[in-house]
Symmetry: C2
Subunit: 80 residues, 2 copies
């Protein structure tokens, strides 16, 4: 089973990487870019567990390691 | 309009960050983790263009800046 996890900064948290990308896009001539936010996309391949167990494990992985829940949000999808 | 872009390493390309996460998960007692791959998740807020124009712009952003197409793949969704 594969978990597809997105970790993003909470709204209001300064995103210097996003700002850097936005400036670079502007310098390359891309107009109309209002905002850019960068986060992490993590794919975790888990084996030998039911979907429910996988959901519990992935939730714990996000809280314990993959996301800093003080400043980041996480969402995930499970795919067989 | 918001573009949700995922940039991931191509299969076969070594992913040291993914390996580091996998080792850390193991050290935290998470069993059954076969593989971990880490990529970038970027949200770009574009204004003043049709969906078709946005698609063309986002495609160009990915090729010109956001992804290193030699070793990375990119996918994106457009949401109003």
């Amino acid at each position: 089973m594969k978990a597809r996890i997105k970790v993003t900064l909470k709204p209001g948290v300064l995103d210097p990487q996003g700002k850097a990308i936005q400036n670079a896009l502007g310098a390359l001539g891309f107009d109309g870019v209002n905002d850019v936010r960068q986060g992490k996309y993590i794919e975790v391949d888990v084996a030998g567990m039911s979907e429910e167990q996988a959901r519990t494990e992935v939730e714990r992985m996000c809280r314990d390691l993959l996301a800093n829940t003080v400043i980041e949000n996480y969402t995930y999808e499970l795919a067989p």
